[in-house]
Structures are given as C-alpha cells and as structure tokens.
Symmetry: C2
Subunit: 485 residues, 2 copies
C-alpha cells in the first residue's frame, strides 16, 4: 500500500506557515532554530518553549491576518511581547503545536501629547522607551519594575504589571486610557481613546488588561502620562520586624500622604546576599538591622524638596521606637544605590542555589502575621530553607521567595516546589489574599485557580472566554485551567 | 362565553408581587402610589417612571431572591439606589411592566480599616456617609459631586461617577477594590477582595462598574481610602478664554504637579446666574472676567500648606498674561463659597427657563476648539440661546449646557433638544470625544450609542450582555440600544 494521505498532507501549522509567508513575506516568519531560540527561553528557566515557527507581523493588519489564518487552520496562538513573564504564559507548550505570535516589531511611539498627558504606542514598545519619551516632554510614566529595559507594553498590559510605583500610581491597568486589540475572530477593535472620562457603554479595555492574551492580542495603547516629580528623596530605614514596617508606613503617610511614592520591605538576608554577590553594591547600615524599608518621597516643586519633612518623619519614628536606624541618600547616585539593593533582591537568589517563589498579596494590615505564619509553614516543609520575603508593603504585595538550605541539594529542594507552594498559599488564603498578585497566572498557576476563585467566578470567566474565543485558540490553557470532564 | 382565562390570570408582575411578599414580607414591597412616588420622579423631570411596585430587599440574599423570582416570572427589573441619575437609567419605562428594585436599605458600613485603607459598605450607603466614615479615621474618600448628600454607592459604581476629584484621584472605577453583585441568574458573586494587587484571572469587577445595572445588581463594595489632605487652598482665577485656562492648567501643574487636585472652568454667565438667583452667594471679582477657573491645591503636611506655592504660580501666570486676576480664599468659609459658585452652576439654569444639556469629554488640548465650535453649532440651531459651558477642564469633561434665549418660549426651545444634541455631538465626535462622559448612557443616550461606538464595539458589548443576561431582564434597553431587525 502507498503511504496514507494523512502522512503526506501538511500539518495545520505547516499550512499556516505557508499561508503566512505568502501574506506577510518570509521576513515575518522565523523557522530557523537558532533564531527562534531567544523567544523560547525564559528568564527563570522553568519553561522551555517549543513552536513550529515564530510569526512577527509588522503592524496591526498583519496581526489580524495572522489571527484569521490561524483560526482557519485551527492552530493555537501564543502572544508574546518582551518575554519577561515569570509564569510561562508567553511560552508555547512542549507539545509543539502552538505558534508563537510576537508583537516585538510594533515598536512605534506614534504620538506624545504633553498637554493632554497621553502617549500612543505599539504593543512592542519597551517600557524604558515609554519612560524616556515621557521625560523628553517633561512628563512622567510611573510604571517601574526591574525588567523595564526589556519588558514591552503589550505584555505589561496583558499581565496588568505592578512594580514599585503602585502605592500612589496604581498598576498598569490604571495607566491605560485606550487599547487596540485583535480579537480571536481576527477583527480589529480600535478602542484608542485618549479620554479621562468616557461612560459610553461597557468599558471594554478592562477585559483585556490582565487577560494574558487569552481574549485577543493587544496591538496598540494610549497611555496616561503624569506631571514629572521635580525631585525624589530616598531613605533606607532599619526596623525590628514587619509589624514595625507597617506601622512606619502609616506614620510617614500621616504627615506626607501621597508624597510617599514607594515603600519597599527588604529582609536582613536580602541585604547580605546582594552585597555578597553583586559587585559595586554596599550596605549603608553600620549594623544591618533585622529588616529594612526603602522609603521614597516625591515632590513636584523644585523649591520644596521632601528631604526636610522626610527627615522629620523618620526622626519622629526613631523617637517613637519604630525606626532603629535611618540613612537618607545624599545624592542621586546614592539614591540609585539604595534602589539597586532592592531591585537585585530577586536576581541574587540565583547565586544561592534553588529558590521557590511566591508572588502574593494580602491586606496591608495582615502582612506581619502573613510573613510569620508563611515562614513557619515553609520551614515545616523544608527545614533549613531560607525565606527571603521582600516587596511592596505599601500595597500588600510580597515576593515571598525561599532560598534552598545553604549548601544543600538544589534538585531535592526544587522537588518540593508544589508542597511549599501549597503551604504558603494556604496562609495567603487564610488572610483573604491573592496567590498571583502582579506576575499573573500563566501556565504556572492555572491549575491553582480553581482553589482560589469560587465556582461562580470560574463560571463567569469561562462565560467570557467562550463568548470571545469559542474555538479556544488564543493562548489556550493560560489563566483558566482546562475544565474537568 | 365566559371571560377568557387570560383576563383572570394574574399578570406576571402580580404573581411576582405575591411571591415577593411571601418571601420577603410586606415591608419589602411598596404598592401604594404615594409611597412609590419618590422612586419614580427624577431630578430633571425628564422622565416619569411607572412601575407595578417597588421592592426593597433588606440584604444581599433578598436581592438574589428577588432576581431569581423575577426571572421565573419573566419580569424585567430596574435597579435603583439614590435616584440621582441624570439619564433615566433608574426610571422604569412608561409601559409600566418593569419592577423597580431599590437597594436603599443596604446602608450598612460594615468595616473601616485605616491601616489597609479600605471601607466595606452596602450599595445603599450614601456618598456623604462614606466620606464621613473615612474622615472619622483620618482618611479620605476622594469622590466628590454635587449630589453627594443623596447619591448612593451602588449607583455611583454602576454609572462610574466622576465629579470634581477626577484630575488626581480618578473616577469611581478607581475607588473600587472589590464588589459583590447579584448576577442576572440570581447567583451571588462575592468579589469583596480588599487587595491592591490581584491578578488571579480576569478582573471581573470592571464588567459591572459603569454597566448601569444591565449585567447585575451591585449589593456591596470594598472601597479604597487615601491619606487625608491636611489642608486645601482654593483660588478663583480670571482668564480671557478657554485656551488660557488650558495653558494655566499646564502652568500650575509644572510647579505643583499632583498637588493640583481640582481645576474647574466657569463662564462669566455662570457667575452672573449664580449670584443673581442664589441667596448668600457673592462674586469675588471686582470686574467679572470672561471666564474663571477654580483651582484647588492640597497638601498632606500641615506645616507645608500650598498657599505660598499657589500664590507664586498664580503670580507667575499673571506676569505671563495667562491670568487676568486671581483671588485666593482667606478662610475655609471663603473656600466653601468659591466651591458653591461652581456647584450651583447646573441648578441655577433652572431659573432661566429650559436648558439643553451635554455631558461630554474631549482630549484636554481640544477643549478651546470644542467650546468655540460647539457654541457656533448650537447657536446655528437656536439663535439667541445662551451657552453655559462649565466643568472639569483638568480631565477634559465639559458640561456643555445651553440655556434658552432670555424671555423666550421654554417649550419651543426644548423641542429643539435632539437637533441641538446632534449639532454639539458632531463637534464632540470630530475631536475624538465622548458624548457620555460621566453621567452614563441610561435611556437618554442609548439610541445615540450606535453613532459613537463602532459595529465591532457594539458586537462586543452585546456578546457580554447576551452571555450574562440572555433573557434581557436586567435593566433592559439601558446602555445598549435595541438591535435593529
């Protein structure tokens, strides 16, 4: 017998590749393994993506065409922009049937309006470039996070990214005025409004912000700009424990209010690890306190810096016993050094072997109890492990990361990932918290979603997903777990 | 022949009334016309509601039961909270088949957390009470509008209300952390999270904020509190024209940034009408300028009032020719007087006969052109009419109201409502603006939605509506116009 027709017919992905090359040109399709590689490896090395090819449309019309053709061929798409995601949402599954759709060519900043305080750009624009374009017209784009040199706007919107500016300025969601999205049926939704107030029907953009590409592909956005702070003062404050940190937050906000633009917790071990492993870093404390807080205060009036009121507030906190010690940065360089201590907190854990991560949030008042209980719970699973809890006290978001026991076996430690997660997440839930505060759900946490969202909520989410993507071809399996039979 | 069965069988509404009285007690159902009347008359007297009865459940379970029973009987429901809406969304239609569901008994403030900066309350809580409860723990709830003594939280959420604090603090949407909603199928969605960061799947609350009760009934909410400003300075500044007002906004924000917490435009005629009709008001200008701006600056540090930098910024604006005159309030009482001038702007138009209203927004930079072109367009339709454009320059939202010609015929003027609307809305659209900026769509503007939202957007909205309310029983016909056959 001759070969069966099935073995000679092209696969759906092959057929899609041919159609895309014809429609968009060879330059838009990457097949070579070496050229695909950067798109398929992620920062933490938790996932290895496999894809028949990467498609990189040059504009919105190209994205729409890609989505329509993929739907015709029944091929699932995985949207990716800067590939800095930490939960695998942007990684094609190992089965190799998903095509990676990159928006990294949509990098044009099309308009900057300093009077209306808006900026219009493509989904592939890198965050640092948006920050720079705002600064060039004396405005401020407040989203700020460690990966801002490579994270792109489309992914930041699709994951509703957080970072260190959330306390006053909010998440990415709060920075978005308008969106353009290619829907799962290939239609283009132009919602690029540059308005602060618009109540003409349902606010559709919020559906796509934080949906991790499961409801469509973000292609352009109108972002909100703000007045640029004239100066920012930064202090590192030693405190005895997380309860003192939370009390200090209330203390400094009482006299400085929303001038307090960042409030980040750093544990003793974090300062030790950063200064041990990272050249050019320095511990500003004479004696390293058990915990430290990075406090940033911003002013808009150059003649009214926040230095003096910040000093006064910290002096009062010292008198009251809330602060053990405080160092105020004496220069922009020193302020940057203080920030580096905080920003390297995640990276340095790699030098200490394996680390099990949790991106969680609880009500601010519950932070001290959460840290205490989660530490005990994790150590009960892996005695000798070293918790490195750090993060955004001001908005209740902790990166509760746990480094392996010093000198222990990395693989044996990482094998306990799910058990440690379960123990820590149980504490999160007991405090009414979230197990996916700012990094999203992706593939890493989709299976946990049924534990933390009620049946009513899961039904609502599925109703939306099914209504917009009945064929389940847009980033399938991310966010929403597969329905049990 | 005997009477047909149809004439003796109870109507669906009658059957629902009997079932509700049995389930919730007679106290929860209002049938008496005099007792129904306050629910059926709205402030502008544009709509007269007709309803077989009003149901007032005492708690969320009662709301859920009402929704389930109404669905069983096929009776449409119109949710209402404070009955301050300006677009008829809360008014049952004249056909008399819609039952009014009031949330005005859900008035409990259940928790106030000054450490986590959150407040949990029922949908029937009056805005002023939320503001007061925040103040009692030295916190601030920033939403502020003329009807705050009677507007209730459920309606403010369902219409995504705006007001005078949007410039820095955002709309109602930005004040909501969590929601409880009774869905159209009668299920209760408990999304009462008190978290600043939570990316566990789609952010469902944004579906219901601004949906005007068409996707469910909001029953409780977790609201965001903020640090309380220690002092607020208020100035009235005379300017030559709207372009000078927009330039002044940029000028004061350049040195004071987000300390500028309100920036409201008032036309000369507005000051004249308020001081003519309202006892106890006073024109603070020696010579009334063509336009005035109310500027408010807030500080969080009692020892650092904004008075001095505000004076400096306004002095500089005077030197540059942007400001013609400026008066800074010398006392809290005077600041309140300045605010009253602005807040009475809408009410006083009633003393001048008929007025045709537009609640619109455009990009901030387009405000001067919009006012000029919209004025010309309106006068072309009704020569001699008197435009009274006022509002929130800082966020692009103008209340472009037009009073009838002095001494003219009210009915003849109001008969031109649609024609004037069409002329003004055409100018709004030409500037990429919104015809429903902060008051919502309701019944008044549903028929206009097809003009301002694209077919793709209307399809997306209908997809959502159909998925959540397939029987179209939740506030039917509001927001989304009936589909043309």
């Amino acid at each position: 017998m001759s070969a069966s027709p099935a073995s000679t017919a092209p696969s759906p992905a092959d057929a899609l590749r041919v159609a895309l090359i014809e429609a968009l040109g060879t330059g838009a399709v990457i097949v070579d393994p070496a050229d695909k590689a950067p798109y398929l490896k992620e920062w933490r090395d938790l996932y290895r993506g496999v894809t028949p090819f990467v498609v990189r449309p040059a504009d919105t019309a190209g994205v729409a065409l890609t989505v329509r053709l993929a739907r015709q061929h029944g091929v699932p798409l995985v949207p990716q922009s800067g590939n800095t995601g930490l939960v695998g949402g942007q990684m094609p599954v190992e089965a190799g049937n998903e095509v990676l759709l990159s928006t990294d060519r949509l990098t044009r900043i099309e308009a900057v309006d300093p009077q209306g305080n808006t900026l219009l750009c493509g989904a592939g624009t890198i965050l640092a470039e948006v920050q720079g374009a705002a600064e060039a017209v004396d405005r401020f784009f407040p989203l700020s996070l460690a990966s801002q040199g490579s994270a792109r706007i489309g992914g930041l919107i699709s994951t509703n990214a957080g970072g260190t500016g959330v306390l006053v300025y909010g998440n990415m969601r709060e920075q978005v005025l308008g969106l353009e999205v290619v829907l799962p049926d290939g239609e283009i939704w132009n919602g690029l409004r540059a308005l602060r107030k618009d109540n003409t029907g349902y606010d559709l953009k919020h559906l796509f912000i934080g949906a991790e590409g499961t409801l469509g592909v973000v292609t352009r956005a109108v972002l909100k700009l703000r007045p640029r702070p004239a100066a920012r003062d930064v202090a590192l404050v030693g405190v005895a424990n997380p309860a003192a940190a939370v009390a200090l937050l209330a203390r400094v906000r009482a006299t400085m209010g929303e001038a307090i633009t960042a409030f980040e917790l750093i544990p003793q071990i974090g300062i030790e690890l950063v200064t041990r492993h990272m050249a050019g870093t320095r511990n500003p404390f004479a004696a390293t306190p058990p915990w430290a807080v990075l406090v940033e205060a911003s002013t808009f009036s150059p003649e009214r810096p926040m230095r003096e009121p910040l000093e006064a507030a910290l002096a009062a906190a010292y008198e009251e016993g809330l602060a053990l010690d405080a160092v105020i940065a004496q220069s922009l360089g020193e302020a940057a050094d203080f920030w580096r201590l905080r920003e390297l907190m995640s990276e340095v854990q790699g030098y200490e072997g394996g680390s099990i991560k949790h991106d969680v949030s609880v009500p601010v008042a519950a932070i001290p109890a959460f840290i205490e209980e989660a530490t005990a719970a994790a150590l009960a699973v892996v005695p000798g492990a070293r918790p490195v809890p750090f993060g955004h006290v001001g908005d209740g978001n902790m990166h509760f990361n746990i480094s392996q026991p010093a000198g222990g076996d990395k693989a044996a430690f990482l094998a306990r990932w799910d058990a440690v997660n379960a123990a820590v997440h149980a504490v999160v839930r007991a405090h009414g918290g979230s197990i996916a505060a700012e990094h999203g759900v992706g593939r890493l946490k989709a299976k946990l979603l049924t534990e933390v969202r009620s049946p009513v909520e899961l039904k609502m989410m599925r109703t939306i997903k099914n209504a917009f993507d009945p064929d389940n071809l847009m980033n399938p399996g991310r966010v929403l777990p597969a329905e049990s039979a």
